[in-house]
């Protein structure tokens, strides 16, 4: 027995010695750390490259059919599609009658006031208190006027502390509000009001909103409802009120009939509703209404032959018919649309204006088609969805706000998409830290012998780091100055002070003045450009990482636009190449001003009316960061 113990002890000692090294454990630890640091340092370019590659490839792989999982209902209270619906053809007939009236109003070019008064009249006839609300927005493009109609149905036995909003805007979201009327959406909300009043099972007040315009009407209503002042909005106060709104549903039915139910969910500033709500409506649509669900209004050509193909035409024939490629193309289309909405902070429908008030809302969009569904199916879906929302005992929560929906029934969890942008950010952080060290240290060759006296140290010539000053203050001054320019730029753009091309020229040249700010490089200290690049990369990385949690699409877009360009920025000795690089970065920073005037206008409108911070963010954060890169190229090395 003792021999076994002794043997074990011997093995343990040997293992310990092997792990700790022979001599002073502290020294060994430090030496091990040195080795690790050296390895990390030597491998830094490789690590950066790998992080970049993995990050970007991850982004490209997001639409792959290998990713994603099936949706599920997390909140037990919702119980979607578990109720019997009573909406029937009589109610459809009533909706048709209202639709006839609305069509008459349309045909005789009725004013906003008349339409709102008509809606109020319908509500009042049903015994639901209703009022109109006039509003007007002052924008640089002129005033936007309109009249909303709203009604508050006090639920029997309910305290009125909670409410559900059911809304339809006068203009459909078709073509992002291209004047297509949402007559059937309005008609079904009005007839639904009369139908829902027949039941005593509502636990929350039902607030019906017929908002004027596309987005502006609801913005006027919901900000007034929550008492949020907006300087350029003049509106009548609401005469009816209800309680806290947890969930809302917006109906958009522009066509004559519909084949699929499209779900739009992106809200202002990239906010998403709780996924449980979308999943519930999806389940209800399929099981109660018998209507297939799509994300947005993109029909899958594999199921609907009439839908436009999504696989690009230049693909070889063999690949075009490959199931995985088709799936990839379909999902890529959905994701790109999602990124397009979310990154810009734009609402994909009227529901999007509600998210800022912690209301989980979505738009059900009846994708126009020649059939087979109509008021009957939509009414059943809405009734059942409202019953599901009515079941809620508390706000939807449980972190179901981070998701990437790729198909109506398949989504990606946060862990499956978030790392892609974070990895790019990490790579930039590593580059930045590398630049920081490079700026402060110069690697020179010296002999090690006099440095460390140790029996084991072999005399050899090694590289030694020699420190030098970093002009941090200069670099920070340049950064602050560029952001200040960004702010001035924002003021100029938002007031449309000059033609975009002139603004482009002015603000592309403005940083050159900033370039004169730093002191001339002192001998023995690092060039400003090196420190500027280090700080620029670190800051950009922080911006990307933080944005990733708030608005993944924006972070991904930033990672794509700034990741590699900012890392590659480097001063160059020759003037022509400096000018060329500077020009390229200026175009990257400000080119949108000239090349995408339409998108610029939309972003500015979104800021003016809806307070979407995408436009100021681009001007005050993105543009200066890229301009700093331009300065890195411009400043002497």
């Amino acid at each position: 027995m003792p021999t076994i113990l002794q043997k074990l002890a011997g093995v343990a000692t040997a293992l310990r010695q092997r792990l700790r090294g022979g001599d002073d454990p502290n020294a060994t630890r430090i030496r091990r750390r040195q080795v690790l640091t050296n390895k990390l340092w030597k491998g830094l370019p490789f690590i950066r490259l790998v992080l970049f590659l993995v990050g970007y490839l991850w982004m490209l792989a997001l639409p792959s059919s290998q990713f994603g999982q099936r949706i599920y209902i997390d909140e037990n209270a919702l119980q979607p599609a578990q109720v019997h619906t009573y909406w029937n053809w009589n109610d459809v007939h009533r909706a048709d009658r209202i639709l006839e009236d609305l069509e008459q109003l349309r045909d005789r070019n009725a004013t906003n006031d008349e339409i709102a008064r008509y809606s109020v009249g319908v509500f009042e006839k049903l015994g639901i208190p209703a009022r109109t609300q006039r509003y007007s927005f002052d924008t640089l493009g002129g005033a936007i006027n309109g009249t909303n109609a709203y009604a508050v149905m006090a639920a029997p036995r309910a305290s009125g502390a909670e409410a559900i909003i059911i809304s339809a805007s006068w203009l459909s979201r078709t073509g992002e509000g291209d004047e297509t009327l949402n007559l059937r959406g309005v008609a079904i909300v009005l007839s639904l009001a009369g139908y829902l009043k027949k039941y005593s099972l509502w636990a929350k007040d039902l607030v019906f909103v017929i908002s004027d315009g596309y987005l502006d009407g609801m913005q006027a209503f919901i900000t007034t409802y929550h008492g949020l002042p907006q300087a350029n909005l003049h509106t009548e106060p609401l005469e009816l009120s209800s309680g806290v709104v947890w969930t809302a549903i917006n109906v958009d039915y522009p066509g004559h009939s519909f084949s699929h139910l499209g779900i739009f969910f992106e809200g202002l500033n990239g906010r998403l509703p709780n996924q449980d709500l979308m999943n519930s409506v999806g389940v209800i649509s399929r099981h109660t209404g018998g209507v297939p669900v799509v994300v947005y209004d993109d029909l899958d050509p594999r199921e609907t032959p009439s839908a436009p193909t999504v696989v690009p035409s230049w693909m070889p024939e063999g690949l075009k018919n490959n199931g995985d490629v088709q799936e990839y193309a379909m999902r890529a289309k959905v994701i790109s649309r999602h990124v397009n909405y979310q990154a810009r902070g734009a609402a994909s429908g009227v529901h999007g204006l509600l998210h800022q008030f912690r209301i989980d809302a979505l738009t059900v969009y009846a994708v126009p088609a020649t059939g087979p569904h109509g008021f009957y199916a939509l009414g059943k879906i809405l009734e059942s969805s409202l019953r599901t929302m009515n079941n809620l005992l508390e706000r939807l929560h449980a972190s179901f706000f981070f998701f990437l929906l790729v198909r109506p029934e398949i989504f990606m969890k946060i862990g499956m998409y978030l790392p892609s942008a974070i990895l790019v950010g990490t790579s930039m952080l590593f580059s930045g830290l590398g630049e920081w060290v490079n700026a402060g240290w110069l690697l020179t060759s010296v002999s090690l012998e006099d440095e460390e006296k140790s029996e084991k140290a072999r005399p050899r010539s090694v590289e030694k780091w020699v420190s030098r000053d970093r002009p941090v203050l200069d670099a920070v001054t340049v950064m602050i100055a560029t952001h200040a320019i960004g702010y001035v730029f924002w003021e100029a753009v938002s007031r449309r002070l000059a033609h975009p091309a002139i603004l482009f020229l002015i603000f592309a040249a403005a940083p050159l003045l900033v370039a004169r700010l730093p002191q001339p490089t002192r001998p023995g200290s690092a060039p400003v450009s090196a420190v500027l690049k280090a700080l620029n990369l670190c800051f950009t990385s922080a911006v990307i990482s933080i944005t990733a949690v708030l608005n993944f699409s924006l972070a991904a877009a930033l990672a794509v636009f700034m990741g590699i360009p900012l890392t590659l920025a480097s001063p160059s000795p020759r003037l022509p190449s400096r000018i060329g690089k500077y020009a390229l970065y200026s175009i990257l920073a400000l080119g949108w001003l000239v090349f995408c005037p339409e998108d610029t206008g939309k972003a500015l409108w979104n800021w003016e009316v809806l307070r979407v911070w995408f436009a100021p963010f681009v001007c005050v954060v993105y543009v200066p960061l890229v301009l700093q890169s331009a300065l890195v190229c411009w400043l002497p090395s």
Binding site: A27, Q34, T37, R157, G160
Partner: protein, 567 residues
């Protein structure tokens, strides 16, 4: 057979005893039915038991054995509670829904605040404090009525004695009387509260008008509430009044959207037999004023002041009152923006704002009378919402009118223990709207203070308005104050108006698992970042400190640890 005889004998005996004791006790029941403007039907059941000659217990004598309690009609369970805690006056109401003052007018029973409301006047004493007895009282009532009245603890208890004046008289005890008042807006009222309520009635729901209290119908009503009111009438005795109020919607339950109703259609029952011990039992129907002709069946016992009265007696025929509008088709709702409001003052209270830390409490109070009205304003706010009293602003038509508000008393809240109490008097100019705003703070809860359904938020009690003075200054100029005067004419005491309750979101952590995962992984990444940052930006070297040891192998362990040099 033997058992049958036996039970009959005992029943006879019981009746004899009952009649003997009933001399000291009197039970009256009354059902008041009022068709409302919006097609609804208000019904108010009232069951009054008077214990003649009785006086409330003096709390100073709590240590002495109480007199024996022999009741026949008076509810013993309630009587024991009252004696045990020496309660002089007690008002309990359990309501579901929001009373729509605009369309329904003043309720017959003023206590219509959503949820539970309990207030009691109790004599002070050196034996047991009022608060101790208040605690005992609410726990006893919680058990008696199967309601969460036990939650009406000191975090919700206030003493707003200006608004809740005693409705009876207060006996002259050694020490003065004190008021305790508490509300629980999140209390849901349902069958489990009605069953113990019915048990307190002498005839239960077997006969008399109480037989109409059919839970299936009562709890389908648009609004319903039950109340227990105990008061001491100096000249008569102790009176217990049990009330049940409900607002039905005959239009909703009718197939062709008509507003016709009958007892059978409303309660799914008719009055089959009278309650034998009732001193009086009446059904009163307020007859409609509208232009369309109506018919009421059967022929009422009497009609006075457009109120039809039916005496429920021991006749064999079941009573099924019905009111019909034969010429009317489906009911046409009045336009809510055009018809005049039915109360002197309408009030709307909302909580605005989007932040989790601050909000704004907004009251919009409209004076519907052409004369100036003074109204009491009471807020009993749990500390879940804390007032910034200095931000209280009043405005009429956009012009600041801070002179219209005078604060009578304010007791600030104590976080985690005591609610705030704000009593003020508002002066409402004739036919105008007063906007009252006040910034409020949403406090941060302790981790353990969150409710099980944390994401729901907190229900806040209603504010109470009591219009008490009408038209002192304006009546000289306006002669149209007469209609208002008739409204007030019937007033014995000022009537309370309850606002709707509020729901406030306080900053709530997500107690679910995924957020914890996110937090954990973020911490991990932060830690990793630290080491990577160190690796990349620091240079580590070994520096020897102190003299070279003589015996290197032995001494090396004792040399001070070489310190990594950060640069």
């Amino acid at each position: 057979m033997r058992w049958n005889i036996c039970s009959k004998t005992s029943l006879l005996l019981a009746f004899h005893v009952a009649t003997a004791f009933a001399l000291h006790e009197q039970f009256d029941e009354d059902l008041h039915l009022r068709p409302l403007r919006d097609g609804k039907l208000l019904s108010r059941f009232s069951f009054t038991t008077l214990l003649k000659g009785a006086t409330p217990r003096d709390p100073q004598l709590l240590s002495v054995d109480d007199e024996a309690q022999h009741y026949t009609l008076f509810p013993l369970a309630l009587g024991q509670v009252l004696r045990e805690h020496a309660v002089t006056e007690l008002h309990l109401s359990l309501n579901a829904g929001r009373w729509n003052y605009e369309a329904w007018g003043y309720p017959d029973e003023p206590g219509v605040g959503t949820g539970a409301e309990l207030w009691a006047w109790m004599g002070d004493s050196t034996q047991t404090s009022v608060d101790q007895r208040w605690q005992g009282l609410r726990n006893a009532l919680a058990g008696l009525f199967c309601a969460s009245l036990g939650h009406l603890d000191e975090q919700r208890t206030t003493s707003p004695s200006l608004t809740f004046q005693p409705e009876g008289s207060l006996p002259n005890f050694t020490y003065p009387h004190r008021l305790r008042h508490a509300t629980l807006p999140s209390e849901h009222v349902c069958t489990e509260n009605l069953t113990p309520f019915l048990k307190l009635l002498p005839c239960k729901s077997l006969s008399g008008i109480a037989s109409l209290l059919n839970p299936h119908r009562m709890f389908d009503a648009d609004w319903h509430g039950l109340g227990v009111h105990v008061r001491y009438r100096e000249d008569a005795g102790v009176e217990v009044r049990l009330t049940f109020q409900a607002v039905f919607d005959p239009v909703r339950s009718s197939n062709d959207r008509r507003r016709d109703w009958s007892l059978r259609s409303t309660f799914d029952r008719s009055i089959e037999r009278a309650c034998p011990v009732a001193h009086s039992s009446k059904v009163r129907v307020e007859l409609p004023h509208g232009p369309s002709p109506y018919s009421i069946t059967p022929e009422p016992t009497g009609i006075s002041d457009s109120v039809a009265t039916y005496a429920v007696d021991a006749s064999d025929e079941a009573l099924d009152v019905a009111l019909r509008w034969p010429t009317e088709g489906s009911f046409e709702y009045p336009n809510t923006s055009k018809v005049p409001p039915l109360t002197d003052v309408s009030v709307r209270r909302t909580l605005k704002g989007t932040s989790q830390a601050e909000a704004q409490l907004t009251l919009v109070i409209t004076n519907n009378l052409p004369v100036q009205v003074s109204t009491g304003y009471l807020e009993t706010m749990p500390w879940h919402l804390q007032f910034y009293l200095h931000t209280l602003k009043a405005s009429v038509n956009g012009a600041a009118r801070d002179d219209l508000v005078s604060i009578l008393s304010y007791m600030p809240p104590v976080p985690h223990s005591r609610p705030a109490l704000l009593q003020a008097v508002l002066t409402l100019p004739p036919s105008s709207t007063l906007h009252l705003t006040m910034d409020v703070l949403k406090p941060f809860l302790r981790y353990t203070e969150h409710q099980p359904d944390a994401q729901r938020g907190w229900d806040l009690p209603p504010a109470v308005l009591v219009p008490f003075a009408f038209g002192e200054t304006a009546s000289q100029n306006h002669t149209v104050s007469q209609p208002a005067g008739t409204i007030q004419g019937s007033l014995v005491r000022p009537r309370r108006i309850y606002t709707s309750i509020l729901l406030v979101d306080l900053a709530t952590p997500d107690f679910s698992m995924p957020y914890n995962v996110i937090i954990l992984s973020c911490t991990l990444i932060a830690l990793l970042f630290g080491s990577v940052f160190n690796c990349l930006t620091r240079k580590i070297a070994i520096a020897r400190v102190g003299p070279t040891p003589t015996s290197a192998a032995r001494q090396e362990d004792h040399t001070p640890a070489p310190e990594p040099q950060a640069q």
